[in-house]
C-alpha cells in the first residue's frame, strides 16, 4: 500500500474544504483529498446567496444577523458560535471579493443584498442566482494560484484513529483503483451533507454523508442528526433546487384554489418565512387536497417579476425551469414540491472546529458547530463554509505545531483494505435496490412530518438494511474507475447517516425547527433545549445530551 505523507489532509473540496486548505497551506504542507474534482463539488449548486450584515440596503449589524439566525434555528443553535459566524462573515466576503468573486452590486458600487427567508432585512449578498458556483470558482482559482495539492477523484473510505487521536486516512484512487494510506498530523473533514439518504433531495449524487459516517465509525461525537432541512421549492419529479431567491425577489406560492396560502401560515413574512415553516405549509396544503390538480405540488409564481428582472436576477432559475421542467417561468407558474436540502446535524465540533477526536477537525455541512440549530436560514450555509473553513484551517495549523508525523496503523489499514476487497463478493443483495429502499423508507417515515411509530419503524428498517448490506456485492471486477464499488461504499455511509437521523428523530419528543413530531407538536424548552449527541463506543451507539449554549437571546415564541 502506498504511503503518502502531508502535514494536514483535508477531505472534501467544496467551499469549506477549499477555504480550510487556503488557510492551512499558508504555512504547512497541506493536501486536499476529494472524491470529485474541486469544481464539481456540491457547493457549486448553492444558488441564492450568502448572508452578511453589511447593511448596504438597510441598517444592519452582526447582532441582528445573530438574532435572526438564533430565532431561525428555533433556539437550538449555540449562540457563541452564531456570534463568531455573524461577526466574521463580512470580512470573509470582503476577502473573497478581493480574490475576484463577482458579486452583484448596487449602482454606487457596494455589494447588493437581497431579502431571504427568516431575515429581518435584505442581508443576502449574491452573484445572480449562482452564488455557490461563483464562490467555488473563485476559491478554486486561489487554490491554483497557491499551488495547493489536490488528490482529485480519491474516495476516502475511513479515518485511522487510535486512543481517540487521529492518525491517518485511507483512500482509493478511483482512476487506478489502488488504495493509499495518507499520513498526516491533522485531518479536516469537509465532505458535505447526506441528502442522498432521502428519496427526494436537491443534493448531488455525491452527497452521501461520507465524513459524518467515517467520523462516527472512528468514535467521534455526532450531533443533532434528526434536524434535516427540507427546501420548499424544488422541481416536481427531479427535485432540482429552485432558489429561495425566487421568493426573495418577489415570487409567491399558490395552491389549487389560486390562493397565496402562505398568508395564513405566516401572515407577516409570508413566502419569506424560514424554510421549515414554508415546507410544512406546502405539505399541509397538499395533504388537505389543495395541491395542484390534487397532486403533490403547488405553484411557484414568478410571472409578476417580468422577464427582464427574471433574466437579470434569476437567470439560472429561469433556465432550470426551462431545461428540466419545460416551463417558461416568465409566462407560467413553476410546479414545485419540497425535498431534502441540507443536513443541519453532523460531526460535533467546538467553536474551533475540533471534534471529540484529537487532530480531527470538521467544517461546513458535515460539521455541527452548531450555528444552524434546528433550522438553517437560507444564505447561512455559504457563510458557515467561509467562516468556519478558515477557522478550521488556522486551528489545524496551531494543532500540528507541536505534533510529529504519526506512525502507520498498519493493522487497521490492512483490515480496512480487506473490508473493501470483501465488497467484491458475489452477494445476494443489490446496492441500487438497497439504496432505493433506504431512500423510500426515510422519505416516508423520517421526512417532513414524523411520529413515534414512524421513527421506530424507520430505525428498524435501517438496521435491517444494514444487515442486508453486509450481503451486498460489487459485480464489477475491474478496479479502474469502478463506480459500482464507489456506490457500494457510499451506501455504507448513507446507512450510518440514516440510522443517526432515525435515532435522533425517535429520541426527540418535541417539535423544533425542521423536526416536527405530530405526536409532540410543541417546542419543549424545559426538556429539549439540548443537542442530541450520539457516539459509537464499545460496539454500539451511545446517546448523551448537551445543553444549548444560550449567550445572547433568550428563547421566545417563533412567529413570522
Amino acid at each position: 500500500m502506498e504511503i503518502i505523507t502531508h502535514d494536514i489532509i483535508i477531505i472534501g473540496a467544496g467551499l469549506a474544504g477549499q477555504m480550510a486548505a487556503l488557510a492551512a497551506s499558508q504555512s504547512s504542507d497541506t493536501a486536499i483529498v476529494s472524491k470529485v474534482h474541486p469544481i464539481r463539488s456540491h457547493s457549486g449548486a448553492a444558488q441564492g446567496g450568502i448572508n452578511a450584515s453589511f447593511g448596504n440596503v438597510s441598517d444592519d449589524d452582526w447582532e441582528k444577523h445573530a438574532f435572526d439566525t438564533a430565532k431561525g434555528s428555533d433556539y437550538l443553535a449555540d449562540q457563541d458560535a452564531v456570534e463568531i459566524l455573524c461577526k466574521n462573515i463580512t470580512s470573509r466576503i470582503v476577502e473573497i471579493d478581493h480574490f475576484g468573486a463577482i458579486f452583484d452590486r448596487m449602482p454606487d458600487g457596494r455589494l447588493a443584498q437581497r431579502p431571504f427567508g427568516g431575515g429581518s432585512f435584505p442581508r443576502t449578498c449574491y452573484a445572480g442566482d449562482a452564488t455557490g458556483h461563483e464562490m467555488l470558482n473563485t476559491l478554486y482559482e486561489q487554490l491554483i494560484k497557491n499551488n495547493v495539492r489536490v488528490y482529485e477523484e480519491w474516495l476516502t473510505t475511513s479515518l485511522m484513529v487510535e486512543n481517540n487521536e487521529y492518525k491517518g486516512v485511507l483512500a482509493i484512487n478511483l482512476k487506478t483503483g489502488e488504495t493509499a494510506y495518507f499520513r498526516s498530523k491533522a485531518v479536516i473533514v469537509a465532505t458535505g451533507g447526506c441528502g442522498r439518504v432521502f428519496e427526494r433531495t436537491t443534493n448531488s449524487h455525491q452527497s452521501t454523508g461520507d465524513g459524518i459516517s467515517m467520523a462516527y465509525r472512528a468514535g467521534a461525537q455526532v450531533c443533532d442528526m434528526e434536524f434535516v432541512q427540507f427546501h420548499p421549492t424544488t422541481l416536481v419529479g427531479t427535485n432540482i433546487l429552485i432558489s429561495e431567491a425566487a421568493r426573495g425577489e418577489g415570487g409567491f406560492l399558490m395552491n389549487s384554489e389560486n390562493k397565496r396560502f402562505m398568508e395564513s401560515y405566516a401572515p407577516s413574512a409570508k413566502e419569506l418565512a424560514p424554510r421549515d415553516i414554508v415546507v410544512r405549509s406546502i405539505q399541509t396544503e397538499i395533504e388537505k387536497g389543495r395541491g395542484i390538480s390534487g397532486g403533490e405540488f403547488v405553484w411557484l409564481d414568478l410571472t409578476s417579476l417580468g422577464s427582464e428582472k427574471l433574466m437579470e436576477k434569476l437567470p439560472q432559475v429561469y433556465k432550470l425551469a426551462k431545461d428540466f421542467a419545460n416551463v417558461d417561468a416568465a409566462q407560467d407558474c413553476i410546479p414545485v414540491q419540497s425535498a431534502q436540502h441540507y443536513t443541519m446535524g453532523g460531526i460535533r465540533t467546538n467553536n474551533n472546529c475540533e471534534s471529540s477526536i484529537k487532530g480531527l477537525l470538521a467544517c461546513g455541512e458535515c460539521a455541527c458547530v452548531s450555528v444552524h440549530g434546528a433550522n438553517r436560514l437560507g444564505g447561512n450555509s455559504l457563510a458557515e463554509t467561509l467562516v468556519f473553513g478558515k477557522i478550521a484551517g488556522e486551528r489545524a495549523l496551531e494543532y500540528i505545531r507541536k505534533k510529529g508525523t504519526p506512525g502507520i496503523q498498519r493493522e487497521a489499514a490492512e483490515k480496512e483494505e480487506e473490508r473493501i476487497n470483501h465488497l467484491f463478493r458475489s452477494g445476494d443483495e443489490s446496492v441500487p435496490e438497497l439504496r432505493k429502499e433506504l431512500q423510500n423508507i426515510m422519505w416516508e417515515r423520517a421526512g417532513i412530518f414524523r411520529n413515534e411509530s414512524d421513527s421506530r419503524e424507520a430505525l428498524k428498517a435501517v438496521k435491517t438494511l444494514k444487515k442486508r448490506y453486509s450481503n451486498a456485492g460489487v459485480k464489477d471486477s475491474c478496479r479502474i474507475f469502478n463506480t459500482d464499488l464507489m456506490q457500494a461504499i457510499e451506501l455504507g455511509f448513507l446507512l450510518d447517516n440514516a440510522e443517526l437521523i432515525a435515532q435522533g428523530a425517535l429520541l426527540r419528543r418535541e417539535s423544533r425547527g425542521s423536526h416536527f413530531r405530530t405526536d409532540f407538536p410543541q417546542r419543549d424548552d424545559k426538556n429539549w433545549l439540548t443537542h442530541t449527541i450520539i457516539a459509537f463506543k464499545d460496539g454500539k451507539p451511545q446517546v448523551t445530551f448537551e445543553p444549548v449554549r444560550i449567550t445572547l437571546f433568550k428563547p421566545e415564541a417563533r412567529k413570522y
Binding site: V36, H37, I39, R40, S41, H42, G44, A45, F54, S91, I93, V94, E95, D97, H98, F99, G100, I102, F103, R105, M106, P107, D108, G109, R110, L111, A127, G128, A130, H133, E134, N137, E141, Q142, I144, K145, K175, S204, H205, Q206, G237, T238, L241, Q316, K319, L320, D323, F324, N326, V431, P432, V474, K475, C478, R479, I480, F481, N482, T483, D484
Partner: protein, 524 residues
C-alpha cells in the same frame, strides 16, 4: 411501452484491447434524460458501466459526454419520445480512462496556463470594505462566469482536432473574464492569448454549440479578445495586415483576376416573360464575384427559372467580415455605410429582399451589421436572406422537370450558414429535391473547412489540415463527393485537393457547389 436503444462506447483498459460499442434497451418515459437512462442501465442491466455524475442540474459539469458525437451534459439532454437510438461516446481529445470517463487533465492544464485567477497589484491592500465597483464595469466579466469547466468545448473544438497546442475555447473565455475585470492587473493576458492560439480559431462556433451553459464563446469571447488585442496593437497578425490591405485596395479579400460577375451581367436581370414572383437584390460577395463567376451565373439562372427578377448592383463593397473576424471592428464603418446605403436605396424603390450568395457575408450582415448600423444611426429598411434560404422559404420553388443527377455525396454544412441560424435541413432538403441524389449522413454537422476566422491567412497549414480532415471524414463514410454552398469552404477544399494533386497524390475526391448543381438540373 416505448423503448429506446442506447449505443454506448465501452472500454475497460484492464481487459479490452480496443473499445467497442454495446447496445442497451431502456424504457422511455416523459422527461427521461440521458443521465437517467445511463443510471437505469447501471442499476438494472449492467452495473459495470462507468460514467461520472453529480448534481444532475447542469451546474457541476461532471456528466459531460458526447451524444450523437457532440459534447454536452447527459443530465441536460432530454430524450424525445420519437427517439429510437442514441449513441453515447466519451468526450473527444482526452484519454479514455474507462467507458465514458475521460482524463480531463489536458483541459485543466490549458486552463492553468492562463493564470486563471485575479492578479492584483500589491499596492491595493485588503481593506475591511468591499471594493467599490460599478455594476456596469463588471458586466462583461459577469457574462463570462457561467463556465462550469465541463470540457465539452475542448472536446468538440475543430482546431484541436489538428493542432493540440491550441489552448481551447474555455481558456480563452477565462482569459477575457479576467482581462475585463477592472480589479485585474495582469497586463499580459491579451499577449498571452495571442500566443496560445487566439487566432487559430476559425470561428466555426462548434464550441458554442457544445457549451451547455450557452456561453457566447465566439463573438462574446474570441472575437472580443481579438478586438481588444487590436486595440493594444498586439494584432492583427502580419499576414492579416496583408489581407486587410487587399480589401482596402480592391474591395475584396481575393484580387480581381478575371472580369467580375457584376460586369458580366447587367444591373437588372429578368429573362422571363410576365410578372416576376419576386424581385431581389443579389449581393454576391467578393469570392463569387471575382473567382466563381459560374456560381454567380448559376444563382441567376436558378432565380430566372423561378421567375425572380434580380438586381445586381456593381458598386457594393466588401462585407467587412475579414475585419470583424480578426478584431478590426473599428474599421467597419465605411462597409456598413456604403453597403447599407445602397441596400436602403433599393428598398426605397420597393426591393427590400437582399439575398447573399456567400455565407460569410450573410452572417456578417445578419449579426454584426445591425449592431453597427445602430451605433452609426443607419436605418435598415430591408431584410437579409441567403440564396438557399430564399429558395426554401420565400418562394414556391420550381422543381418540375429537374434533371436527374446520379450522385452519392455528403453535404458540408458551412459554419457561417449555421451562425446565421439557418438549419442544415434546409439545404439537405433542397439538395434532395434533385432526383438521383443520394446524401450520406455526416457523423456530426459542424466539421470545419479551415477557411474561416482569418486562420487561412495566418496559419495556412492549420487551415489545410482542417480541410483535409473534413475530406477524410467524408471518405471514412464511404463518400467521394462533398456538396456545399459556401465559397470559403469550396476554396479551402479545392486548395488542398489541388496541392495533393500537384504532389501526385490521387485523391479521387470532388467538391460540388450546390448552386451550380441545382442550376445544372434546370438545363434540359
Amino acid at each position: 411501452m416505448t423503448e429506446i436503444k442506447l449505443i454506448i462506447f465501452r472500454y475497460d483498459p484492464s481487459k479490452d484491447e480496443k473499445p467497442h460499442y454495446e447496445t442497451y434497451t431502456v424504457p422511455w418515459r416523459q422527461r427521461l434524460t440521458v443521465l437517467d437512462a445511463l443510471n437505469y442501465i447501471k442499476e438494472n442491466i449492467d452495473s459495470s458501466i462507468s460514467f461520472r455524475q453529480g448534481c444532475r442540474s447542469a451546474i457541476c459539469g461532471s456528466c459531460a459526454v458526447r451524444i450523437e458525437k457532440r459534447g454536452c451534459l447527459a443530465c441536460k439532454t432530454t430524450i424525445g419520445e420519437e427517439t429510437r437510438e442514441i449513441t453515447i461516446d466519451p468526450l473527444n481529445h482526452y484519454k479514455v480512462i474507462r467507458d465514458l470517463v475521460v482524463d480531463l487533465e489536458p483541459f485543466y492544464e490549458r486552463m492553468k496556463q492562463i493564470q486563471p485567477y485575479l492578479v492584483r497589484n500589491n499596492t491595493i491592500a485588503m481593506t475591511t470594505k468591499e471594493m467599490l465597483i460599478k455594476p456596469e464595469d463588471l458586466a462583461e466579466a459577469k457574462n463570462l462566469r457561467d463556465c462550469i469547466l465541463c470540457g465539452s468545448c475542448f472536446s468538440d473544438c475543430n482546431t484541436l482536432d489538428v493542432d493540440n497546442t491550441f489552448c481551447g475555447p474555455a481558456a480563452l473565455v477565462k482569459t477575457l473574464r479576467f482581462a475585463s475585470d477592472p480589479r485585474d492587473n495582469n497586463e499580459g493576458r491579451l499577449a498571452q492569448a495571442v500566443e496560445l492560439g487566439l487566432y487559430k480559431c476559425p470561428v466555426d462556433q462548434e464550441c458554442e454549440f457544445a457549451c451547455p451553459k450557452e456561453i457566447n464563446i465566439r463573438r462574446g469571447a474570441i472575437e472580443r479578445l481579438r478586438y481588444l488585442a487590436v486595440q493594444k496593437e498586439l494584432a492583427p497578425l502580419p499576414e492579416h495586415k496583408k489581407l486587410i490591405n487587399s480589401v482596402l485596395d480592391s474591395g475584396g479579400i481575393v484580387p480581381v483576376k478575371a472580369k467580375p460577375a457584376t460586369e458580366m451581367f447587367p444591373e437588372y436581370i429578368k429573362e422571363f416573360d410576365g410578372e416576376p414572383q419576386a424581385e431581389v437584390l443579389l449581393y454576391l460577395g467578393c469570392i463569387i464575384n471575382r473567382r466563381k463567376q459560374n456560381v454567380a451565373a448559376a444563382i441567376i439562372n436558378i432565380f430566372q427559372n423561378n421567375r425572380i427578377a434580380v438586381h445586381l448592383p456593381g458598386k457594393v463593397t466588401c462585407c467587412g467580415s475579414p475585419f470583424m473576424r480578426i478584431g478590426q471592428r473599428d474599421s467597419m464603418r465605411p462597409f456598413v455605410e456604403k453597403n447599407f446605403s445602397i441596400f436602403n436605396d433599393y428598398a426605397a424603390r420597393g426591393i427590400t429582399d437582399v439575398v447573399t450568395s456567400c455565407s460569410g457575408c450573410n452572417s456578417t450582415f445578419r449579426h454584426d451589421f445591425p449592431k453597427l448600423a445602430k451605433e452609426f444611426d443607419i436605418p435598415m429598411n430591408f431584410r437579409i436572406f441567403d440564396v438557399g434560404e430564399y429558395m426554401y422559404e420565400k418562394i414556391a420553388l420550381n422543381v418540375k422537370g429537374l434533371k436527374k443527377t446520379n450522385i452519392r455525396a455528403m453535404y458540408h454544412y458551412p459554419c457561417h450558414i449555421r451562425a446565421s441560424g439557418l438549419a442544415e435541413d434546409i439545404y439537405i432538403d433542397l439538395i434532395q429535391r434533385i432526383p438521383g441524389v443520394e446524401l450520406v449522413k455526416v457523423p456530426k454537422s459542424g466539421y470545419c473547412c479551415g477557411g474561416g476566422g482569418g486562420v487561412r491567412a495566418a496559419f495556412p497549414e492549420l487551415a489545410d489540415r482542417l480541410a483535409v480532415r473534413r475530406i477524410e471524414i467524408a471518405k471514412e463514410s464511404g463518400v467521394d463527393t462533398l456538396i456545399t454552398n459556401c465559397p470559403f469552404c469550396v476554396l479551402s477544399f479545392e486548395r488542398v485537393l489541388g496541392m495533393k494533386e500537384e504532389r501526385g497524390e490521387k485523391m479521387g475526391f470532388r467538391i460540388i457547389d450546390f448552386y451550380e448543381m441545382f442550376s445544372e438540373a434546370y438545363s434540359i
